[in-house]
Symmetry: C2
Subunit: 577 residues, 2 copies
């Protein structure tokens, strides 16, 4: 990316030599690097299973038919699919580094993910994007990026950064940047807000995609949003909503992730008439969900179980996302396409047995190939591990006697109701103190309020995963434990913690931007589940995810009440209380 | 294109203002520029007819539903289709200037054509491409270009230019250049010829499309050709050939033009399973064919008559070509798309009644809007009208007593057979003299031979439309008339002529590069038909197109014998005779 690396003539010459070798192999004059012998494979173009050898050279598929290879692998009894594609994910939601994420999804046949680094960018701004780009370079899952469109997510948020169109713009020449990530600020777009629309305009000027996020938007507002230049939506939760968008030209990303699952409701899209405009995405995948269910392979399996034609499901799981994102060299098994393969036992069980990335066997019956950590420059490596800038709070920082609004939790939802005011913790009525501690710029802002329905009987629970600004959010029965929980997280440079009487009972350090661990997915999952158990042991209701629930309480776009670093906000009225 | 015109910030700002107006109109806060009221329109995304108003602002569709406009047009009783797209045409084949061509196809609902300026480039090299780019700028049909890949078409040709990858490359930044035109030199690609493959590599380096041309190619050769990076084919004449290519990832351009008509044979592609990978093209459209049958509208009508679902036919006629060429703002009726409409009476008769280009009514019930001639710079305007550089031949130039090979015409085909040798014209046996006169670089090369089966009994017939090098080809019963025919064409700076006893009996001047007229399509057609009649009156067989037949006799890629400026060539053996 930086500066002069080779002449254009030199680049063409090198590509030419590689292309000539590809032609030699395809024409049968030279042995292939790899041949998948006797393959039954999904042909996404004709919508059928084809059979034959698949010849690979220079990381590309070069021929189909009968070939000989330096390496050969017999594919009898399996089905070869193109590598699967997740069309939209916030990789940070897995709580692990990009490399560990890749290790987790590769065994599920994923070879490309389109990632929106919205969380880390709210913490670190463009440095967060640069870090993610470097930390994914050369990994055996091709991690592509959409540049976050809404940082901060709302004007009243104290995030770590504020991105305008020039910031966004500066990434569009990167070869792994596909466009502008989900434009959540649809009211801003519809109102024609200049700063918001400028990001769309700049993306279009670079011929980049712009993803949408507009649950239930309809009528002229939907027209305005789409006419502005938003090409997809992954927030459809019923088929009427999806069809209204599809008819207006949007591509529909059928989301089946951890927090939101829309596949069942959107099954009517997976028919001849509409499936061509659909792809799969997960949006958010938490560690246990990734480990237990899988990734895009899980969506394919579920879609087939719900009655979708299996070949159609595979087409949706790879080729359509590739075409949408103009990644025209993948998502299919044909000459010239990347040799990315997810080999499955059969199209119904869809258990991935081996995975190839650019012709390299990277996963084989439970065994992952070695994945070297991508080099990240020193500045970013240090910066990403040093994102907590706050004066350590004391118990006194949380002491307060003024009446504060009470956020009423709603079972099974992330919305809240307005439950009036409280002046103190009241365990009888399950009223706890809740605070958001600004941690990016040492503003010493601490927003205070109360919350009802969480269930904690003793101690405090805190997390630095706190959408979308990722300040530290803490709930407690007493000010001392709230202070220790926050300080413990600050000491760890991020994480999730459960504290009682000053003792740490649950602990998941997340030192990468306060969002991601340096450990493996398994280790993270274990620490997380153990911390959850600790929170439940302290009284948090069994139906409540102690941390995920908290992580949404500071997101000032979900009704009715939310807590920001400035105090409780009435989201509906957009007023501080 | 040339140099600094505006700052990037200024460009974004101007686009932003326009986008904000689009949003105002879409949201219903401001009146649209134009509303097509009560429209029944083809929705290419859902494959159905939808109804409602179509609102247009700033040349784009902005909303669907209920809108008010500064201008309103009632669409009751009609069907609104997206503007039609010809995916591959040699515009020169219509024998008129680009502006006249546009005037001819606009009434047929065509709003975008993908043009391969192969003919003019063989005459003028990159100047020919620059001329075509300038001569099409701002026309109400968006003329897009694929840069010719094979100039000259074969190594033994004496064309006006020789393009290497650097020449081709220099056009890829032009906003109306979509890629590399039909790669006819498939043997070169399959052999891995560096100069040939470099053009593909350079196109890929610019993320451009590469069109194919590979009749009946199959097996490993087809794999090699596709793996090299050729994304489409328009030469399929049977469904097996087409399916082999489609299965390997190529897009299929179903061609229905003047010389080649493949629609009927390829009808099985126009089903749910395959149609998504298909588009329509004409390749070549001669004046009478354009005037009598129409353009892409004719193909839609014919496809429907042959049993294709009409909505599917419309999808193939617009949206699929748009997606293939990454012209993602057209080929559909949805917010954000170009307001290009072909309004037809009904989907079966498919008579175009009105046409809109970017929201402007450009054709209305037989009446075309005024179309200003695009400004072409003086150098190119002069250059394009001065492409004949030859020393005037005399009768003596054609005098010859050596035995020369006889090209045997095959009724209804453009192939020839080898009919041995002749030493003189023999009207009894219908053996005529044929010559190709080099006219680009005054090399004084004149290739001589004989032809059997043409039928001429007196005089000479000549044309400067002579694939692919466009030297002057002439057939005659005597050397004097051959010389005058050639000189008449040279005097006219190009054209088609019929001469007898020194008198010009048929005459179509084609002063634009020797390929295109400055007149209207109607005038050209009249002159052409009259010249044909003159040729037939002199004895040319009634089943023979006197000029088109001639125009292929110098194309040294069609078996068996051809005539070049160096004499008769055995194409099969690649040997001069």
């Amino acid at each position: 990316m930086a500066g002069y690396t080779e002449s254009y003539a030199g680049k063409i010459n090198r590509k030419l030599l590689k292309k000539q070798r590809i032609i030699e192999v395809a024409a049968g004059r030279e042995k292939a690097d790899l041949v998948l012998k006797n393959a039954t494979y999904v042909n996404v173009f004709s919508g059928e299973l084809c059979t034959g050898d698949i010849a690979v050279a220079e990381g590309l598929i070069v021929g189909l038919g009968q070939y000989e290879g330096l390496q050969e692998a017999d594919m009898s009894g399996c089905i070869v699919c193109p590598g699967l594609i997740d069309a939209h994910i916030h990789l940070e939601s897995a709580l692990v580094s990009p490399r560990e994420f890749v290790k987790a999804v590769l065994p599920h046949g994923t070879t490309t993910v389109i990632c929106d680094p919205h969380e880390i960018t709210n913490v670190m701004g463009t440095d967060g994007i640069d870090y993610m780009l470097q930390a994914t370079e050369g990994l055996p899952v091709d991690v592509r990026f959409m540049i976050p469109s809404c940082v901060p997510a709302a004007p009243m948020e104290e995030a770590g950064a504020n991105l305008d169109y020039r910031d966004v713009d500066s990434f569009f020449d990167h070869p792994r940047v596909q466009g502008l990530a989900e434009m959540m600020n649809y009211p801003g777009v519809i109102a024609g807000d200049g700063a918001t629309v400028a990001k769309i305009v700049a993306s279009q000027a670079h011929h980049k995609k712009i993803d949408g996020h507009a649950p239930d938007l309809q009528g002229k507002d939907l027209d305005a949003y789409i006419a502005a230049g938003v090409y997809s939506d992954h927030e459809c939760h019923d088929v009427e909503d999806a069809l209204a968008k599809l008819r207006r030209g949007q591509f529909i990303m059928i989301r089946e992730g951890t927090a939101a699952r829309n596949l069942e409701a959107l099954m009517p899209l997976l028919t001849e008439k509409y499936y061509d405009r659909c792809m799969f995405c997960t949006d958010d995948k938490h560690p246990s969900d990734l480990l237990e269910k899988g990734h895009i392979d899980y969506i394919v399996r579920k879609a087939v179980a719900l009655g979708c034609d299996p070949i159609m499901a595979v087409q949706v799981a790879c080729h359509h996302a590739a075409r949408y994102f103009l990644l025209n060299n993948r998502g299919a098994i044909a000459p010239g396409y990347l040799a990315d393969f997810a080999v499955v036992d059969n199209l119904r069980d869809f258990n991935v047995v081996t995975v190839y990335k650019k012709g390299r066997l990277v996963y084989d019956h439970g065994v992952l190939a070695e994945i070297a950590p991508p080099p990240v420059e020193g500045y970013l490596q240090a910066r990403v591990h040093d994102t907590f800038h706050l004066t350590r709070p004391t118990a006194g920082s949380f002491a307060d006697s003024r009446p504060r609004a009470v956020l009423g939790m709603v079972p099974g939802e992330i919305t809240t109701t307005d439950r009036g005011y409280a002046t103190a913790v009241d365990l009888e009525r399950d009223i706890l103190k809740i605070a958001v501690v600004e941690r990016h710029k040492n503003t010493r802002h601490i927003g205070l309020g109360y919350i009802q329905g969480y269930g904690l009987k003793s101690g405090a629970v805190a997390t630095s995963v706190s959408h979308d600004s990722h300040n530290i959010i803490v709930v407690g029965t007493n000010d001392e434990d709230m202070a220790s929980a926050v300080n413990h997280i600050a000491d760890n440079h991020g994480g999730i913690t459960v504290v009682e009487g000053g003792r740490v009972l649950g602990d998941l350090p997340l030192p990468i931007a306060g969002l991601m661990s340096d450990g493996t997915l398994e280790a993270v999952n274990e620490a997380l589940e153990s911390a959850k158990a600790a929170a439940h042991a302290l009284g948090v209701g069994p139906d409540i995810d102690p941390f995920m629930t908290l992580s949404f309480m500071a997101l000032p776009v979900i009704p009715t009440l939310r807590l920001t670093t400035r105090g409780v906000l009435d989201v509906t009225r957009q007023q501080d209380i």
